[in-house]
């Protein structure tokens, strides 16, 4: 075994795993999206019928757009909530950094499903929020929009994916050398200007990463909408899952998946491009 080549052997398990269980299945799915399904099973052919079918019913498009909208709002809220937390941990409460980070990590240890069920209970008619509101006297009856609605989906998604947003933002803030901020102040920037002209631009990469994490994870989520979304909160994930389940139309499911994936990628790319333009102007 020649000295320099050992890294190839070390990387082999990773690549084998990824190729076997990620790239190849993705490739298979892509191939399926051009096939057809009949009573007798899958028919290998090449057709764009499945993709056209996406446009045949308004429902699919509505659901795709709704999924994107819900995911986008959830991701924005994630970023808006995470940034101050990451910021104060980095610059104000440095001693609490480890402790809070452990808390965030621990929240990820608990089962994802259990957490969604917890929210179902909290948001429900007899749930904690409604009980408190009625107890204080702000409302007379339970608020129905809190559960089985897009709002419920957004709230739940935010709480589930905030840890994924805090960590990249925190990491990028940690990498800012404090003397950069001191230099900005020394040159005449007040606290806000120093933040806006130095800290924010330098933490943007973390913000974008955090946003992309929560956006893409939210858009594809299909358990959360199923449990707390009701009919108005249904997202495209459910339809795709159905195609692979009872509807037994894998080609259509694949086409739907790839089409949604394409739209999401396009959207993320546009967002990054917009940010680049804004950053250049600063």
């Amino acid at each position: 075994m020649r000295k320099g080549k050992i890294h190839i052997f070390l990387l082999l398990p990773f690549w084998v795993y990824y190729i076997l269980f990620f790239f190849i299945p993705l490739g298979i799915l892509l191939t399926y999206s051009f096939w057809l399904t009949t009573a007798r099973g899958l028919v290998p052919t090449f057709t764009l019928e499945n993709y056209w079918a996406i446009f045949s019913k308004k429902l699919y498009f509505i659901l795709i757009l709704r999924s994107i909208r819900i995911a986008f709002i959830a991701a924005i809220i994630c970023v808006v909530v995470s940034y101050p937390v990451a910021y104060s941990l980095t610059f104000k409460y440095k001693k609490m950094q480890d402790f809070v980070l452990y808390l965030i990590l621990i929240s990820l240890f608990s089962s994802y499903l259990v957490r969604i069920y917890a929210w179902k209970t909290i948001l429900g008619g007899q749930g904690l929020i409604n009980q408190i509101l009625q107890y204080i006297g702000l409302t007379k009856e339970p608020l129905s929009f809190l559960l089985y609605s897009p709002t419920a989906v957004i709230i739940t998604l935010v709480f589930i994916f905030v840890p994924f947003t805090i960590l990249p933002i925190f990491s990028s803030l940690q990498n800012i050398k404090p003397e950069l901020i001191e230099a900005a102040k020394d040159l005449g920037a007040n606290n806000f200007e120093a933040f806006y002209k130095v800290t924010l631009p330098l933490s943007m990469s973390g913000v974008v990463t955090g946003f992309i994490f929560s956006f893409i994870l939210s858009a594809g989520d299909y358990v959360t909408p199923q449990l707390v979304g009701g009919t108005t909160g249904m997202m495209i994930g459910k339809i795709v899952a159905d195609q692979f389940g009872m509807r037994y139309n894998w080609p259509f499911g694949s086409a739907l998946s790839y089409f949604t994936l394409f739209l999401l990628a396009l959207l993320v790319y546009c967002l990054i491009w917009i940010l680049k333009i804004l950053k250049l102007r600063r």
Partner: protein, 364 residues
């Protein structure tokens, strides 16, 4: 070239971090246009003091005044001083132009004026043509010059420099020392320069403030600190020095006779001591002249020694000498064409002559 006005006054500044006293009752007056070096070993408080002047550290007690007005309640962005940081602190997401122009854009100056000023600064630090480069595309020395331009464009009353040349190669450092000195001469801005490199301080400053453990040990021009250190610390920190311990044998009207290990040495009477007091003597290696027997008498002091080692340093040669059982000393000699004929070898016995004035005495 006016040194008339006192610009910056530090009065009794003290600052501790928990149990550690960083700065203890520090007082200093700096004149307008002066180049002052804060010199001292690591941990002596010089950087803390600089940050106090800049506004990045608070004072436990004392005051800092500019033109008679206290500035300790002003936050850093309101103070009329600018800082050049040790690791440059250039904004990585901005070009050289944007870095230098940063302070001007904050002040909402018009674009053409800013462009003109930046160009002038780039000329001053000899970096014309570098406007669009990013901080990670230029060398360390160039970064330092951008940091300098960025601070100077603001026309501060005082420029604070925190060991700005520390991260540079020796050759570039020496070059930058001269460039900095020239820029300061040209602009006549007050420079307060922190360094632990005593050679740097000697080269650049009008005045040196020697610090140790948060306190001022000595303040003076490079010459006075070098030739007349006031303590063992000063003698050893700046330049090389031979230290001897002895006892005062006799106090005359204008000179002291000190006995060191059987030798009798004569020094000018610069301190108040009485016979029997223990003292420390310091003599610089280059002040020990290797002489013939008769010449030595004209120096005022004469001792004999044996060469145990010679070391070649390029432009000088150092002789390590054993004077007596307990005393070893270092003598330094410049290498000239004549000295080739002298050729002193290990084992030679030599006579060393030195003046009374060059022998410093401390009461320790």
């Amino acid at each position: 070239m006016s040194y008339e006005n006192t610009l910056l006054v530090i009065k009794g500044a003290s600052r501790s971090f928990g149990e550690v006293v960083a700065v203890k009752n520090f007082s200093l007056q700096v004149k307008d246009g002066e180049f002052v070096c804060l010199l001292g070993p690591s941990g002596c408080g010089k950087t803390t003091l600089l940050r106090i002047i800049a506004g990045f550290e608070t004072l436990d007690s004392g005051d800092v005044l500019i033109n008679g007005k206290s500035i300790i309640d002003l936050s850093p962005h309101r103070r009329p001083m600018n800082m050049v940081f040790q690791n440059y602190a250039l904004f990585p997401h901005m070009s050289v132009f944007e870095n230098i122009a940063f302070s001007q854009f904050l002040k909402k100056k018009p674009k053409e004026e800013v462009a003109r000023k930046v160009r002038k600064m780039l000329q001053l630090v000899q970096l014309e043509g570098f406007e669009t480069r990013g901080p990670n595309q230029i060398s360390g020395g160039q970064c330092q010059r951008v940091a300098l331009a960025r601070a100077l464009i603001n026309e501060p009353k005082v420029l604070l420099l925190d060991e700005p040349l520390g991260a540079l190669d020796l050759k570039i450092r020496k070059q930058m020392q001269i460039e900095l000195k020239n820029i300061q001469d040209k602009l006549r801005i007050t420079f307060i320069y922190v360094t632990h490199d005593q050679e740097e301080a000697l080269v650049m400053s009008d005045r040196i403030v020697l610090m140790n453990e948060g306190e001022i040990m000595q303040v003076g021009t490079p010459k006075s600190i070098y030739n007349h250190p006031n303590s063992k610390f000063s003698a050893m920190f700046v330049g090389e020095n031979n230290l001897l311990r002895g006892k005062v044998a006799k106090v005359d009207s204008d000179c002291l006779v000190i006995s060191v290990d059987g030798l009798e040495l004569f020094a000018n009477r610069t301190i108040n001591v009485k016979t029997g007091d223990p003292v420390t003597l310091a003599i610089r290696p280059e002040k020990l002249r290797i002489t013939g027997e008769l010449e030595g008498k004209s120096f005022g002091n004469q001792i004999r020694g044996k060469v145990v080692d010679t070391v070649f340093f390029g432009s000088v040669v150092k002789y390590y000498l054993r004077i007596s059982g307990n005393i070893t000393m270092v003598a330094e000699d410049k290498i000239t064409d004549e000295s080739n004929s002298r050729s002193i070898k290990i084992g030679d016995g030599v006579t060393l002559g030195f003046t009374r004035e060059s022998l410093n005495v401390f009461a320790e």
